[in-house]
Subunit: 397 residues, 2 copies
Amino acid sequence: MRIADRISDLGTETAFAVSGEAAAFAATGNRVYPFHLGDINLPTPSTVVEGAARAIADGKTGYCPNAGIPQLREALAADIAASHNTPYGPENVVMQPGGKPTIGKFILTLMNPGDEVLYPNPGYPIYESQIEFHGGVAVPYGYTEGAENFALDFDSIERGITDKTRLLILNDLQNPMGAECSLEELERLADLVLEHDLYVLADEAYFDMRYAGKSKSFVEQPGMAERTVILYTFSKKFAMTGWRLGASVGPTEIVDVIAKLNVNDESCSNHFIQYGALAGLAGDQTEVQAILDELHARRDATVAGLNAIDGVHTFAPNATFYLFPNVTELMERKGMSDYEEFRRAALHATGVSFTTRLHFGREIPGEANRYIRFAYSGINVPDIEESLSLFQDWAEA
Amino acid sequence: MRIADRISDLGTETAFAVSGEAAAFAATGNRVYPFHLGDINLPTPSTVVEGAARAIADGKTGYCPNAGIPQLREALAADIAASHNTPYGPENVVMQPGGKPTIGKFILTLMNPGDEVLYPNPGYPIYESQIEFHGGVAVPYGYTEGAENFALDFDSIERGITDKTRLLILNDLQNPMGAECSLEELERLADLVLEHDLYVLADEAYFDMRYAGKSKSFVEQPGMAERTVILYTFSKKFAMTGWRLGASVGPTEIVDVIAKLNVNDESCSNHFIQYGALAGLAGDQTEVQAILDELHARRDATVAGLNAIDGVHTFAPNATFYLFPNVTELMERKGMSDYEEFRRAALHATGVSFTTRLHFGREIPGEANRYIRFAYSGINVPDIEESLSLFQDWAEA
């Protein structure tokens, strides 16, 4: 069979293999504690469920406009305008079947083959994959450990910029690290973007997933809204990961191209789910807050359980539902240098299933510290406590 | 702004502009009779609606596997295996958010830049767009008027094949023409495919939308299942256009690559809708048959209304919900040679809104006959009769 050459440049999410291993381990009668996937084991708010059901009954089962229903584009623009202090209107919003499609469509719209794209690594692995699949050069930048959280490694960003750099991918409130830029970091990044005339994908999948403080968008920096596309998703805030609804939000000229890509790819996002999302945005927020409160409690339990372990240290980020504990000492003590060996040993000894740095972009030569990722969105507090006690026993044995 | 070069090769569905014009005409107080879009104004069967609602209640609101839920892949494989006399299993099925995504993913998986791809013209305009967007050369083939329906123009197919031809797109039970291949045509096409070592996209969006006889798939031809990807969709049979669910069905090696594209593009199709589709396939088919019966009555009314008009002739295809009437004489009599002038004159004089040959791929130099397309999926029989009477009065005035 003659598969096209470009497919050899296509990456994937290797974290799904961890799901497979965990499922196989569970299938042989073992208890698994799932910290490996950023899925949410909480019900979607009834505002959304009932809004979607009403729309089906109202006959919203045919095609809708490629860019989305006007009411939702308007409501979402108003919501984001308010939280981002930026004057977005419906013409700046194009609906997508999930958050992820914005990544590929942003790259297709703005990157020529051979262009260089700065992207976070460790980071969501689809950035790397989509850049290379469409013929670009993926240039990683990193983070360093600060006092209270990870911080942007500006050295690696500045080192990565060349005459060919065209795009920057920023995932503030970051997966897998939970990193959050300070105002100073955002300002410094905006200066670099202007100086080098870059366009930016601001992956804000976790913008509303926070337990203290207030999220600050990169688009609030002067001149940035004009050169930034926001990846918005309903998946996290409304516990709608499996519904598949999100949006690309940005300058009209880019949004119009992305809508034309919609025509070519999936025609439109599901019609009645857009009414469900509209009801979710407009309706009572009690259930949305309850999701955040539950995740907050899980964060606290996971942070406490991990930091109790000798040789493990994690920050307690105020946003996302990820922790990225430093396990350098623990792996050394266990005599393990291989991430996969360590991960499998922990899974088989304790049932605790997590991903590692390896699942978030190609490892960069010379990395001194070892990190694993815990997602606490799919596991309840009692199971977190039980599992981390088992993990501690194993780690300290 | 620096939009990427590739975007200049991206096409669209110009039929959406006709929707816009029709809506604008209606907004000024005029009655519009919608024959322009292949949407369905009938409710989705309750089996599907209830199956999806049950799945939401059961918590199927998180991510599902990238290739789709195993139960649906299995049920759909069994359904297609039975109707296609071909041994498909779940490993041959990868779910998609609609029928359309299979077009781009097939091309990405099998076409290198510079490869030539044969595609039907007049035909669904996204073929042409996706081939050229991804760097291929779109080579049109046509149809000729036979005795009872349109027939493949093998001269144009054979003329189009060169050393660089790698792929063939076949849309049997065709949009916009309603054409259906005879067994002899399928055999002759399979011979050409083998002789020139081509791979095939069989767009079977309308395979189950038929009012007499039985659909024959191209994959039943010897050796063709091994080199063909079927575009399957739930949109038409189950009146689910706005739900966005379909599948790519084909050789495992291709299906696996397409599943990897899913990981990169939309992660997965909506989770609970897949349970709805499963319920639709397994459940009582009374409502599905009622959809077909209603469309059958509409076909008869539209065919009768159009063929009553002096200078108009349409076939009465047993499948699809499209007619492609020859209006060469009518346009001549009206003194109009421009499709858009004719379409707009009819809309403004009668409210009858339709698309023309222009909306289905680039016109090929030297085309002698004039055709327009009527979709009867979105308009009821009384409105069909009323509107075609108005259209006849205008046409014969």
